[in-house]
Symmetry: C2
Subunit: 732 residues, 2 copies
C-alpha cells in the first residue's frame, strides 16, 4: 500500500526504466545487471539513482506534513485521519518578495497552533503564514555557526571567533570580544566527545543563552599543512603550501580549559558558571530547567571515573548542588542531557549505564533519584519524546534483539513498556509534538525501506506511508545473511554479516575479505536492509569475494561489560574475537583460507594494521584507512577514557602500539589517509612508515590531500576503487 | 703491478674468501654467484664489501703520502722516486696526550717545507710534527659549520646562527649578533646554485674573512613537518609533530637578499661590499686577490642573462670596477671563482661558456681579458691547479670524447695542450702543491679502478699505485655496453648505456626499464667502470630486465646548445629524445615492447611522471622519485634559469605542468618522496595526487618520513627494494 504520490519527475524516470527493463528482459531472460562502483558507493555520481525512495515529513503539532523540494502537503490530521491538502509551495513563498525559495524539504512547523512554517529563501529565513500568505517574521541569512531560538526568534552566532546575538528585531549584541583561534566561543568543545555537538544553548523561552568558552592556548599545535592552491595562475598570493595549525591535545599531555557562560540579551551581561578551576575537567550535557532559572551540567574529572550532575543558578552562575554522582573504576560515559517531563517541571529523566546497560531513571529536582524507569539486558538507544496524554516516554531500544532497534512507550508511573512498531528491523523516527504519532523510517533484511506513521496509543493501527520498491531489483544482488558466533571468551554471542559472491557456486573456493571497525561507540551488523551491508561489500561480492563483518567485543550498544572488555588494552580482545570470525570463515567450505584480506577505517584501520602484524600468517592483504598507530598520538578525551593516560598505563600504551610491531609485517598492507586528517593526525601513519623502513618491512601508502578523517564526495568513490584494486592486485 | 700493500685486516678476509671460493668452484664448476640487493646498493650493509679497494693519498708538497686508518706512509719523494717510509701513526699521535686518534685518512700536509700533518683526535685538531713527535699547535673541536685557515690557524664558525672567529691562540671574536633562522650568516646562499657550496672565505694569508649574510625574512616559509619522536616514552616534551618551517622562494615569488661582509680579526670590524641594493640579485663565486686587497664576485641579476665580474676593496668595501661582462639571451651560468696564476698575481683564469663550451680565458687585473686558453667542441670540467715550473695549467676535460674525462696540461703562453693520462676512461684526481704530480683515480669499461701517480712533465712515466681486483669476479655480472643514437633533432649524438639481463638468451623477450635523469647539470653515461651503471641496474638485470639509460639533450657537459635546447619548456625535448631511446629499445629483438618501465629521481622523477602521462601507451610501469610536478613550485635560482619566471613565461609553465595532465595516467605509476624533501618540496607530489584523484586516475605513492631529497643509509636500500618490487608486481 502506497499512499504517497511519487514525485512527478521521478515517475517519468521510472517509466523509462521499466520500459528499458522490459526490452532487456524479454530477449535475455532474467539476465541481471552488474553494478558499477559509482552506483554502489556514496560519492559516486550515480549513487543516489540506486537508493530507495526518500520521503521527508515534519509534524505540525500532531499533524503530519509531507515535504517535497517545491511544496508542503498535509497528509494526516491530528486525529490520525488521512489528508491530502497542499499547504504551500515555492510560488507562494516567492510571492512575498524575499528572494528565491530554497528546498522546501527543510521547512519546519514550530507552532502547533499557528499555520506557520519556517522556510528558507536565498535572502534568509522566513516565518511564513500559509493562510495569510505573508511573512510573519523574516531575517537575513547569517553565515557560520549559529543557533536559532524560535521562542524569542533570536539567533546566537559566531563571527570572527567572537559570539554575537541577533535579536528578533535585527539588533546585533556582542557577547565576547577576545575570541580567537585559541580562545573559542560558542563551538562544540572536548572534541565532540560526551555527546557534545554544539556550543550554544538557548533557554526554553529564549531569554538566556548558555555557551561554551574553550581556552586552548596551552594546547600544543599539530602542524597541518594545506597544499591546496585554488588559484594556480594567480600571482597575487604565494603558491607555497600553508600551515594550518590545529590545537590537538594528545593523551597525557596538557588539555584545554572549558567554561560555560550565560548571556542575558536583555541586560547585555554575561555570567560564568562558578564551576571552579576548569583544568583537567569536562563540562558536558548542558540542559536548562523549564523555568530558565537553572543550568544543569554533567561534570567529569579528566580521569572520567566519576560523573556529577550539578545545578547552577543561571542568573548568578552560583553552583547550587550536586544532584547525583556516579562512579566507575573504568569510566562513566554520559552522553545525554537531562530531559524534564513536559507535564511536571520538577522531574526529569537521567541516563545511566550503572546497572551495566544504558537505562533511564526518573529524578526529582529536590529529592534526587526516584526510580529506575527501564531495565533489562538491553540498552535504550534514544528518547524520542513524551506522550503528554498517557504520561509516557517514547523510547527506542534494543530490547527485541541486540541487532534491532524498536520503539516502546514506557509508562512513567508503572514502568510498563509497550512495543510500538511490531518488533522488526531497525527504526529511526520522529515523534509528534504531543507524542501521539511517530513518523517512522525503517528497514529489515526483508523490507527495503518503509515509511510508516505509528499511532502511539494504538500501535496496531500503523499506517504505511510508503513501502519502497527495491532499487536493485534489476541487479544481480549477492546473498547476504546474518548470524552469531561465540567470542574469544567462549560465552558472548557476536553478530556477523556474511556476503557471498555474486553467482555463488558452493563448489568453488573464494577469497574472503574481513571488513572491520571494532572500536567503541559504533557497530556494523544490524537486522536492517542487507544486514547493514555497505555498497562496497556488494561490489566486492560481484568481483568474487566473500565479505565478512563481525561486531567484536568493544563495539557499541551491547552494554558496559561488552564494551569495556577492551579497557586499557585497546585492540587485543577485539582481535581475538576477529580471529574467531576468521576461524568461522575458514570453516566454510567455499572460503580459500590462503586468500584472506582485511579492510577497515579509523579504529578499523588500527584493527587492520594490528591484525596484519599481530597475525602475520592469517591475512595476505590488508587496507587500513586513517589508522590509529599509537594511542599516545590520539586525543585526550576518547583516548584516556579507554586507555587511561600514558603515565597511568604505560604498559598498555606500549603493548598496543603498532610501531614496535612494524617489523612483523609479512603480507601486503596499504595504509590510506586523508592528508589533513584532524582526528587521526597524519603523524600516526608516518610514524608507522618510518618504523617499517627501519625494520625493513614494506607497507604501501596513499594520502588524499585536503581530505580529513573520511573522504568526501567523489574522493570516496576514488578511494574505494583504490581499495578494491589493492585486493585485485594482491589477493586474486 | 701493485705497489701498495693491502690492509692487513682485509688480507685476512680475502684469504678466507678465496678459500671459500675454491670450495665452491670445485664441485659446481664456474657456477657464479648472484648479488643480493644490499651488496649492490649504497646503504646496504654489505655494499662496501663489494666495492673496489679504496686508496687514500695526500701530497706533502710534491711528495706523495699514502694514508690508512692508522698510519701515514711516504710512498714517493719529490723527484718521483718510490719510497716506503712510515711517517707516523695512531700511537705517535696519541702519545702527545690530546685524546684518541681519529681516522688518519683525513690527515693533510699543509706545509711543503715542514714535517707537519694536520690530524684529528677525539679532542680536536692537532698540527703534528712527526719528526719532533710533538704538537706544533692544537685546538679543541668546534662543532657545526666552519672554515679553517691554515695560514693564520683561525677558524671561522657559526654558532647559534651567529658568526664567530676563533683565533690561533684560542680567543673567540663575535662577528655578528643578530643572526637567526631568517638572517643567516656564514652559510651557503642562493640555494647552492652558481657553484656556491659555502659561506666563509678566508683571504690567502688569513688576515681577512669574507662571508655571506642572507636576509630571508621576506621569503615565504614552506611548512615542513617533523614527525620524528626520538623519545616516545619521554613525558618531558610534547609527542606532537613539530613544524620545521623552511624559507623556500618559489619561482616568480619574493626572493632573499644576500650581502657579503669582510671581517678583520685584527680590528674586530666588519665592512660590507658596497654592491648596491641586493634585491633580486645573485652574488656568486667569491675570490680573493693574492695580496688580500681585493674581493672579486661574479654578479647576476635575477634574470640570469648577464654576469659581471666585479672587484671590491676588501678594506673599505668600495666597488672598484667591472672587469668583465657576459650576456646571453637564455642564461649565463658562472660556477667557478677566478683563480690567480701562482707566479703572477696580476693574472687570473676565468671560465666562460660564451663560445658554446665551458673554456678557460686568461685575464689581467688591469687590462682585462688577454686571450682564450682552451677552445674546441668540448668542455673543460676542472682546473686541478698549476705547474709552476712549466707555467702551465692542469685541467680535466672531455676533449678525448664526450663520455671521457682526461687530464691535460695547457701551456699558458702558447695554449698548447698535452694529454697526461693516456686518454682512457674517466679520471678524478689531485695535483701536488708544485703541480709536478697527479694522484689519479680512474676507471673505464675494461679497468675496474686504478690508482696512478702521473708525472706531469713526463706523462709516459705514470706509476701505477694500485690496479684493483674486480670485487665482482665471483659474480654473474650482466653484459653492459655503451653506444650512441641520434637525438629527436636527427643530428645530435646521444650516448646510452645498455645492461642486458644476466644469463642473457637472445631468443627470449625481456621486459625493459629505462632509468632516466635528463635534467641540466648531470649525466649518467660515461666510459667509466660498467659504463657508469648503478648497482640497482645490475640487480634488475639479474631479475631479468633490460636496463637502458640515455643522456638526452639538456644534460650536462655537452655544451651550451645541447643543454639549453630545453630552455623555457623543460621536459619536452628531453622526452622526445627518450622516446628515440625507446624506439631503439623496441628495435632490439629481445626487448618486449609491451613491457616497458621507467624510473628516475628528482628531475628524473619529473621525467618519469611526465613520460607516463605524455606517452601513456609507451610505458606500462613507472616509479618517480622526488619529482618536480610543476615548475611554479620549484625554487627561484635553478627554476628561473631554465624557465624564466612564471610571469615572463606563463605558457611554458602551464604547458610543462604535470597537474593538468594527471588525467592521462593509464599505466601503474608510483611516486616516492622524502617526506621532508627541502628541494622538491612535498607540495609537488601532493598536488599531483590531488589532481589525479580529481581526474579519476590512480597513482601509487610512498613517503619516507624524516628523509630529504634523497634517501640516506639504510633507507636507500629499502627504497630500491620498494622500486624493484613495483616492477616485479606490475611489469612481469
Amino acid at each position: 500500500m502506497e499512499t504517497i504520490k511519487t514525485n512527478r519527475r521521478m515517475l517519468g524516470a521510472r517509466f523509462l526504466a521499466i520500459a528499458v527493463l522490459m526490452l532487456l528482459t524479454i530477449p535475455v531472460m532474467a539476465q541481471k545487471r552488474q553494478f558499477t562502483l559509482e552506483q554502489l558507493v556514496y560519492g559516486g555520481t550515480e549513487f543516489w539513482n540506486y537508493q530507495p525512495d526518500y520521503v521527508q515529513c515534519q509534524f505540525w503539532g500532531d499533524r503530519l506534513v509531507r515535504l517535497e523540494a517545491d511544496e508542503a502537503v498535509l497528509i494526516q490530521d491530528e486525529k490520525g485521519q488521512e489528508q491530502s491538502r497542499r499547504l504551500f509551495g515555492d510560488t507562494e513563498i516567492e510571492a512575498i518578495g524575499y528572494g528565491r525559495s530554497l528546498n522546501v524539504m527543510s521547512a519546519t512547523f514550530p507552532d502547533p497552533t499557528k499555520p506557520w512554517a519556517l522556510v528558507y529563501t536565498s535572502k534568509g529565513v522566513v516565518l511564513y503564514d500559509w493562510e495569510a500568505k505573508t511573512a510573519v517574521w523574516k531575517q537575513e541569512r547569517i553565515p557560520g555557526t549559529q543557533e536559532f531560538c524560535y521562542a524569542s526568534r533570536s539567533t546566537a552566532y559566531v563571527k570572527g571567533h567572537n559570539l554575537f546575538v541577533r535579536t528578533a528585531d535585527g539588533r546585533d549584541l556582542q557577547v565576547s570580544t577576545d575570541g580567537s583561534r585559541v580562545l573559542v566561543y560558542g563551538q562544540s568543545v572536548h572534541r565532540d566527545e560526551f555527546g557534545i555537538t554544539k556550543g550554544l544553548f538557548w533557554s526554553p523561552k529564549g531569554n538566556l543563552l548558555a555557551f561554551y568558552r574553550m581556552d586552548q592556548s596551552m594546547v600544543t599545535d599539530y602542524p597541518q599543512v594545506d597544499i591546496a592552491l585554488p588559484n594556480l595562475e594567480g600571482e597575487d598570493s604565494s603558491r607555497v603550501a600553508r600551515l594550518v595549525p590545529d590545537k590537538y591535545p594528545m593523551a597525557g599531555e596538557t588539555s584545554h580549559k572549558v567554561t560555560v557562560g550565560v548571556f542575558n540579551p536583555a541586560t547585555g551581561s554575561t555570567v560564568y558558571l562558578q564551576a571552579g578551576d576548569p583544568t583537567d575537567r569536562y563540562f558536558t550535557n548542558i540542559a536548562w530547567s523549564p523555568d530558565e532559572k537553572t543550568v544543569y551540567m554533567i561534570e567529569l574529572p579528566r580521569s572520567q571515573d566519576k560523573a556529577e550532575l550539578v545545578a547552577y543558578d543561571a542568573r548568578t552562575g552560583a553552583r547550587q548542588r550536586v544532584l547525583y554522582t556516579e562512579t566507575n573504576p573504568k569510566y562513566v560515559h554520559p552522553e545525554h542531557p537531562i530531559q524534564f517531563l513536559p507535564w511536571d517541571a520538577t522531574k526529569f529523566i537521567y541516563w545511566s549505564e550503572r546497572d551495566g546497560y544504558n537505562h533511564l531513571y526518573l529524578f526529582d529536582v529536590e529529592k534526587g533519584e526516584l526510580r529506575q524507569l527501564t531495565s533489562g539486558s538491553f540498552v535504550v538507544t534514544d528518547v524520542l519524546g513524551f506522550n503528554t496524554k498517557s504520561k509516557s516516554i517514547i523510547i527506542a531500544s534494543r530490547e527485541a534483539s541486540p541487532v534491532k532497534v524498536n520503539y516502546w512507550s514506557v509508562d512513567i508511573k508503572s514502568g510498563k513498556r509497550v512495543m510500538l512498531d511490531g518488533g522488526q528491523g531497525v527504526h529511526s523516527g520522529m515523534l509528534s509534538a504531543g507524542g501521539a504519532y511517530i513518523f517512522d523510517r525503517w528497514s529489515s533484511p526483508s523490507v527495503i525501506r518503509r515509511y510508516d506513521c505509528l499511532d502511539v496509543a494504538r500501535p496496531e493501527k500503523a499506517r504505511t506511508l510508503k513501502d519502497c520498491d527495491d532499487p536493485w531489483a534489476a541487479f544481480d544482488v549477492p546473498e547476504i545473511s546474518g548470524g552469531t558466533i561465540k567470542a574469544a571468551d567462549g560465552v558472548t554471542d557476536l553478530y556477523y554479516r556474511l556476503v557471498k559472491p555474486t553467482g555463488f557456486d558452493p563448489a568453488k573456493k573464494y577469497p574472503a575479505v574481513v571488513y572491520v571497525y571494532g572500536g567503541p561507540h559504533a557497530r556494523n551488523v544490524d537486522e536492517a536492509r542487507n544486514w547493514g551491508a555497505r555498497g562496497w561489500e556488494i561490489y566486492m561480492a560481484q568481483l568474487g569475494y566473500v565479505v565478512f563483518v563481525l561486531d567484536n567485543r568493544g563495539s557499541s550498544e551491547r552494554g558496559f561489560e561488552f564494551e569495556s572488555a577492551t579497557f586499557r588494552h585497546l585492540g587485543d580482545e577485539e582481535m581475538r574475537d576477529q580471529i574467531k570470525g576468521v576461524e568461522f570463515l575458514k570453516s566454510l567450505p567455499y572460503v580459500d583460507a590462503d586468500r584472506l584480506g582485511v579492510h577497515g577505517w579509523s579504529f578499523g584501520g588500527f584493527m587492520t594494521t594490528n591484525l596484519m602484524i599481530t597475525y602475520p600468517d592469517v591475512f595476505k592483504v590488508g587496507v587500513a584507512g586513517g589508522p590509529v598507530i599509537d594511542w599516545r598520538y590520539y586525543e585526550v578525551m576518547y583516548g584516556e577514557r579507554y586507555m587511561d593516560t600514558p603515565q597511568e598505563n604505560p604498559e598498555g600504551y606500549e603493548s598496543t602500539s603498532l610501531i614496535r610491531k612494524a617489523g612483523n609485517l609479512k603480507g601486503r598492507l596499504q595504509i590510506i589517509i586523508g592528508y589533513n586528517d584532524p582526528t587521526c593526525v597524519p603523524q600516526h601513519s608516518f610514524a608507522f612508515l618510518k618504523a617499517c623502513a627501519e625494520a625493513g618491512t614494506q607497507p604501501d601508502f596513499f594520502a588524499y590531500p585536503n581530505e580529513g578523517h573520511n573522504m568526501a564526495g567523489h574522493n570516496y568513490e576514488h578511494l574505494h576503487e583504490r581499495i578494491t584494486r589493492y585486493f585485485e592486485d594482491h589477493l586474486k
